[in-house]
């Protein structure tokens, strides 16, 4: 209604709110980074987060990569056959997976699984005063809750991406050799020959950045959760949506930096 009656005011308020949100997130991220290098360090929490974020995300990331690799092989074969370029399937599948689809889809899947879980857990802790309790017990919630999760996600996402890369290429290999008639040895040779170290490394760097985004968004929205079940639900949704958008935006920026020469 306000948008219709006072459009400029509504746009101005929305812009200011958006800038304030960006500012709050920037401060939160800055504080998180500052706490990462100052003791105390909670190694037990870090270990638990590594298992929750890294190990338990393996099936989701692996399955996503497997089907994506297979679908990519089918698409490239269909597209390539229009100009007799079916032979490029192994190399394009490999490059597509390690540069783009592995990190992005892995990041998005982990955003859905981990960012939501972190926001819900921390949001519930806030609503039930557990975060206040931590403070009264001389424990900084940023150090105890945020830092271990952000570090664990930043370190485990590249590993997940690497595993996803291998499984994704394997998915393409399976489809290529069983449905598209490729010779297995030739397929593998073409994959390895056209893949460069930087293709893989750039994907792993993207993974680390996406991991940082996923956990930071989960923690930020959890820590700033509203009251009650509705507040926690909203925080969870916000965490997934903002992490996903930021992953896609960061992917564009990083791709521009890495490959525009």
């Amino acid at each position: 209604m306000t948008l219709i009656t006072h459009p400029l005011g509504a746009i101005g308020r929305a812009t200011l709110a958006m800038l304030a949100l960006i500012g709050r997130i920037a401060i939160f991220v800055g504080q998180t980074c500052a706490h990462m290098v100052r003791p105390p360090f909670y190694l037990r929490e870090f270990g638990t987060a590594l298992i929750q974020i890294g190990w338990l995300s393996l099936p989701v990331v692996g399955l996503t990569a497997l089907f994506t690799g297979g679908a990519l092989a089918l698409q490239i074969y269909a597209g390539g056959s229009r100009f007799n370029a079916e032979a490029v399937v192994p190399s394009i599948v490999a490059i597509g997976i390690v540069r783009e689809l592995g990190p992005v889809l892995g990041g998005l899947m982990v955003a859905g699984r981990v960012s939501a879980a972190i926001a819900a857990e921390i949001g519930t802790m806030k609503v039930t005063e557990q975060i206040d309790a931590l403070t009264t017990l001389s424990t900084d919630p940023m150090k105890y809750l945020t830092v271990p999760r952000v570090l664990a996600a930043t370190l485990s996402l590249p590993v997940l991406v690497a595993v996803g890369d291998v499984i994704g290429i394997f998915g393409g290999f399976l489809v290529g050799t069983t449905r598209l008639g490729f010779n297995p040895v030739t397929y593998l040779e073409n994959t390895v020959d056209f893949l460069e170290v930087w293709d893989v490394t750039s994907g792993l760097i993207k993974g680390a950045v996406f991991g940082f985004i996923v956990a930071s968004m989960g923690c930020y929205h959890g820590m700033n959760s509203g009251k009650g079940a509705r507040g926690v639900g909203q925080a969870t949704t916000n965490a997934v949506v903002s992490a996903s958008i930021m992953i896609l935006a960061a992917n564009y920026l990083l791709t521009g930096i890495f490959f525009t020469t």
Binding site: P40, Y42, M125, T128, E129, Q130, D132, A133, T135, T136, L137, S138, T139
Partner: protein, 248 residues
Amino acid sequence: MIEMRDVHKSFGAKRVLQGVGLSIARGESLVIIGGSGTGKSVLLKCILGLIRHDSGSITLEGQDVTTGDRDVFLARFGMLFQGGALFDSMTVWQNVAFRLLCGSLKRPKAEAREIAIEKLRRVGLTPDVADLFPAELSGGMQKRVGLARAIAAEPDVIFFDEPTTGLDPIMSGVINALIREIVVEMGATAMTITHDMSSVRAIADRVAMLHDGVVKWEGPVAEMDTAPDPYLRQFISGSAHGPIAAVR
């Protein structure tokens, strides 16, 4: 020991504390009463630094609570939260011994567990509860665990935020008696916020009534029932008629 002078706190346009002045002597048990939304919990959180007050001063033994080493400051406090605020990913003994498992008061794990079990015993819980998770306990047991956690590091000051909310009258009586016993035994300074008048009578040395963000009445618990203050009279009698609006 704790001195509050002209403390103000607003949330946006809502003015919650409008010039609170209170003091608590060492070893004294002060109970703050008042209706819902009158700023009792906010006041308590301002003292602990969980919320920053807008103006006025809060001091602990002459030292402003917003300055100095936070760890040293907080190590002097224990707090029982309204809902217990137990960490649900940890067992009962880990909750109780939390302060002893990390930070400046860290002890070896076995010793911390031993202390936790001793504190659980002190609040009437058996050692077999130690390895359960908070979700496996009843509301009354959770309050006792919260109480054990509050006293685990033997703090100088203990805050109790609505300690009997959600409990049946018998369990409320048990918790009230426990709080009184422990505060006297430890010689701790206690500050309790509640609207349960049986808690007030069981726990308090002194009572302060908060309404509209200011202290309306303050005095020894023995004088509470004979005080002429209309706000206090209405609150004690639980009447819908009086200076306190029934719908706020």
